[in-house]
Assembly symmetry: C2
Homo-oligomer: 333 residues x 2
Amino acid sequence: MDIRTSLTRRGLSGLLLATLAARAHAQAGADPLPSWRDGPRKQALLDFVAAVTTEGGPRFAPPADRIATFDNDGTLWVEHPMYTQLAFILDRMKALAPRNPEWQQDPALRAAAAGDLQALAGAGMAGLLKVAGAAQAGNTPEQFQEIAAAWLASARHPRWNRPYTDLVYQPMLEVLAFLAARGFTTFIVSGGGVEFVRAFSEKSYGIPPNRVVGTTFALKPGEADGRITLTREPHVDFIDDGPGKPVGIARFIGRRPIAAFGNSDGDFQMLQYTTEGAGARFGMIVHHDDAEREYAYDRHTNFGRLDKALDEAPRRGWQVASMKNDWTRVFAW
Amino acid sequence: MDIRTSLTRRGLSGLLLATLAARAHAQAGADPLPSWRDGPRKQALLDFVAAVTTEGGPRFAPPADRIATFDNDGTLWVEHPMYTQLAFILDRMKALAPRNPEWQQDPALRAAAAGDLQALAGAGMAGLLKVAGAAQAGNTPEQFQEIAAAWLASARHPRWNRPYTDLVYQPMLEVLAFLAARGFTTFIVSGGGVEFVRAFSEKSYGIPPNRVVGTTFALKPGEADGRITLTREPHVDFIDDGPGKPVGIARFIGRRPIAAFGNSDGDFQMLQYTTEGAGARFGMIVHHDDAEREYAYDRHTNFGRLDKALDEAPRRGWQVASMKNDWTRVFAW
């Protein structure tokens, strides 16, 4: 099965429309961010992009420097009531449990297979990483992406009863398209598993696998029947979250971004690393304050906690975008 | 100092010329590879590219699948009489030795500081890695790239008395430009240090940092004066050579290449991984058989040994390009 044809085309269509709209608008001088309400946040982004793309201007940045990084969960798509990848992991655990009776002997694995989030939380980070490995490792990167893509094609979000890939934020698709149209190279820098995000990033965001940075399982090279094999081992060897995000950026992208977009304290160091660089810089936090159209949460949640970054945003010059007030719509549909 | 302005512009000029030439030729139906002699190797490459870019054809590959990977040392530029990065390391060790008198107590560090290659070889891989760390770590990725760029701007190759960045192969620049013009995304997958190669890849090859995969030192995140710091630690945590190349490709690129170019047994697994994929595939080995214009070596050398890959090339369908016979010229100058 081809990953790219197995995924819904809705996300890509939305992105293509957004890209074409951004290109056309950029040329016509019209609004490249139609789902953003006119106001300080939208204006700050427009001003930043104008400044770094004005040749001869004091804040001009050549295209090679126009690196923009985006968190995924909660920044580009919905992360409640739980991270999408966690929903995937729980579905996998349930499906694989009958073939793995030994999981019943382990509290974390047993809890995950039963879908008991409370018991799973009690097993701590070590338990969660064990579950992540059991549900997702032991295959090649290509096999895993097919598994993830097949799940994304069939799973439905409990609130909207739609594929998770429908739950990307239209205003952020417009930002991705707008920046691309202005010579930026866009990257996803996600705490999620790199191969999980790669299973839909190209279709949903127009971002190819090599521009996705994420958490990784160890990859073990070997040979079988005289052919190269790569096996995803059940232990995580890099966590692309918090202080790991600047590390992932330096390692994979190799250049400090001039713009970064996040929504939680897991993005704090990425925003900090980005905006501490010299010259024009832009940091933005998506604030989930819209219980009606999406969700409302910040300091008190298990998924996407926003606390320290919310406190420090003003003094660091980070824009806090209100989903409720700054976005005229949330989803493409 | 800006890395990009501190480097010689010669490499980029050559690449720009090659790119423009390839674009113009592709449109005009003229020769996109003027430094390649007409013959089986050139024809094989032209046939492959024609096959994968012919829409509706049986071997068509959509642009997203057109991933091509290139080894660096000995494939894109000269690697004799020693790897360029080793010359850099030896120069660094010599320069830093007075400030590090304790190096005299260690056989490998002492040998490197004295430029004694034979004694250094006696210290084995462990000794070499220790020297690599002593010469290159303890700085940020940005600082290191400035150090490497400054060295590249001043160092001269002992045979031609030219900057090392002049010693990129014109025929390979044409291949890079030709593939880019035909919708490929090109990557460097080097056994060399990723930040060393990134110090010149954009200028010399038109390949930005995020499309360079290489060997890495551990990166340690921290804070100083309230700002994020990233420190390159003196231990190598990933070796992008031999079996490491498919691992690096899967991790950084996230998609199996359909074309790969190498010159040594260190590229064996990259070539194997690439050409074992389904559909049209292309593998090529640059064979150094031209002592007059460059160097002649294969099975018996410490730098770029080509033995097993040379033996297996015929049965695996890999093209072996003779530098002497297939290239009408080696360098742009």
